[in-house]
């Protein structure tokens, strides 16, 4: 029995009790997925919160039978990717706010130096991923950052598993040449 199966059985049985477990299990993946799609850490955190709030509201309207059938991970990432796309669209229509107060300018404070370094690495990858075609980027993030199976990625993006595989493959080839270019002087 997979972790997903255990989780959805518990959610079907007692949503309010099992929901915090779902947040504990999935928040890392949702946050890191959003982190590769969005320009800053606080946006990714806001989106991660919003994903779980919407997930809870949706689940409270579902029958236990429906929850017991739900494929949690693809379902959660369908919500995540939609919120990230909406967020990007809204942002591109609005001018970027410049706040001079240092504490709020990035919306980011780091608990430790390691966090700051992690965030820097994440940002490099986000920039590289931006260079890919959206379909390839989404497929790569879901497959290799979030760790969904090819089948689950297909469910999120609404395309056949074969298409996901070739998008991931083309995306990786593209990333290889981006890395090679960064390396050459």
């Amino acid at each position: 029995m997979t972790a997903d199966t255990v989780l959805r059985r518990r959610l079907a049985k007692d949503l309010d009790r099992a929901f915090p477990e779902m947040v504990t299990q999935m928040q890392g993946l949702v946050f890191n997925g959003a982190r590769r799609w969005l320009p800053n850490r606080s946006d990714a955190e806001d989106i991660a919160q919003e994903v779980f709030v919407r997930a809870y509201r949706a689940l409270s309207g579902y029958s236990p039978e429906r929850i017991a059938e739900l494929r949690i991970r693809p379902w959660l990432f369908t919500i995540t990717i939609n919120l990230c796309r909406n967020h990007a669209r809204t942002r591109s229509r609005r001018p970027v706010e410049v706040v001079l107060d240092g504490h709020h300018s990035s919306g980011t404070t780091f608990a430790t130096e390691q966090h700051a370094i992690d965030a820097l690495v994440v940002d490099e990858w986000r920039v590289r991923l931006q260079a890919l075609a959206p379909r390839q980027r989404d497929a790569i993030v879901l497959r290799h950052v979030v760790g969904l199976t090819y089948k689950e990625v297909g469910e999120v993006l609404g395309c056949p598993t074969g298409t996901v595989k070739s998008d991931v493959h083309r995306g990786l080839t593209q990333l290889r040449s981006i890395l090679a270019m960064e390396d050459s002087p």
Binding site: D16, F19, P20, V23, T24, Q27, G28, V30, F31, N32, R35, R41, E45, A48, Q49, F52, V53, Y56, R57, H115, D118, A119, V121, V122, W125, I140, H144, V145, G147, H169, L172, L175, R176, L179, A180, D183
Partner: protein, 255 residues
């Protein structure tokens, strides 16, 4: 690293950043699966109050945080996070409810209660400040006259005392009775509402009537308190009043 393999690239990509610790509390608070709490001025001093997005969940008349957390865990059982901020929607009605000692328009979130417990509190909330009713009255008003003990234990677990005035429910022999936070606090709350301690001496009088209207009441009923000395008649039991041709007051509905 000129020609990294697919595997090397995916390993670098998978570098996972620890999620911020604020995600869990924010999500639980926004979905009303966790409470927030703060302190506020109550009728007898600083008290703790907890709430969700749905309403006030818990009132504990103590300034002691550890005591609040223990009571909250026992009566509500959800995680709770400290805050300095009461949302606008709750702040004004809460201040008013504490000041007037009536629920008024204050939203309360009592999801964890059984329908029976909820009904006990709904009936109790109708007792006006400055008046008391016996446990048996609450049971009778609910249409389950035999459930006096169950009423007592439901009131003992009232998560929102003061604004749902379980302190206004007393023993039928006149004594003030038990209170989750001690009988002396119950007495102090009643005195704060202008009731004399002598009212609650054991064996004190239980029913008061007027020989002009031929109506009998509980002694703290607003109609009983305006009976003049000269027309005031006292009864130990309702059947004694009824035998003399008195009927029960329609406001306090004694029985």
């Amino acid at each position: 690293m000129k020609y990294p393999t697919d595997q090397q690239i995916t390993e670098m990509l998978a570098g996972i950043e620890a999620p911020p610790e604020t995600i869990m509390p924010s999500v639980l608070i926004r979905t009303a699966l966790a409470d927030e709490y703060t302190t506020i001025a109550g009728p007898l001093g600083l008290i703790h109050v907890a709430f969700t997005t749905l309403g006030v969940t818990s009132i504990v008349p103590t300034p002691d945080e550890a005591e609040f957390l223990e009571v909250h865990q026992r009566t509500v059982g959800r995680p709770t996070y400290a805050t300095d901020f009461i949302p606008k929607r709750l702040d004004a009605p809460l201040q008013r409810a504490l000041k007037t000692a009536r629920l008024g328009g204050l939203p309360v979130d009592l999801r964890q209660l059984t329908p029976f417990q909820r009904e006990v509190l709904d009936v109790t909330a109708t007792i006006p400040p400055g008046e008391v009713r016996p446990y048996g009255w609450v049971a009778r008003e609910m249409g389950s006259a035999g459930a006096v003990r169950a009423v007592g234990s439901a009131l003992g677990r009232n998560p929102v005392p003061i604004v749902i005035p379980c302190h206004r429910v007393v023993r039928s022999d006149g004594a003030v009775g038990n209170y989750a936070f001690g009988s002396s606090m119950k007495m102090a709350l009643l005195e704060h509402e202008g009731m004399e301690p002598e009212l609650f001496a054991p064996g004190s009088l239980r029913y008061v009537g007027s020989d002009t209207t031929r109506i009998f009441c509980y002694p703290t009923c607003r109609n009983a308190r305006r009976i003049t000395e000269r027309h005031r008649v006292e009864f130990a039991r309702p059947d004694q009043a009824e035998a003399k041709g008195y009927r029960a007051c329609k406001v306090c509905r004694p029985g």
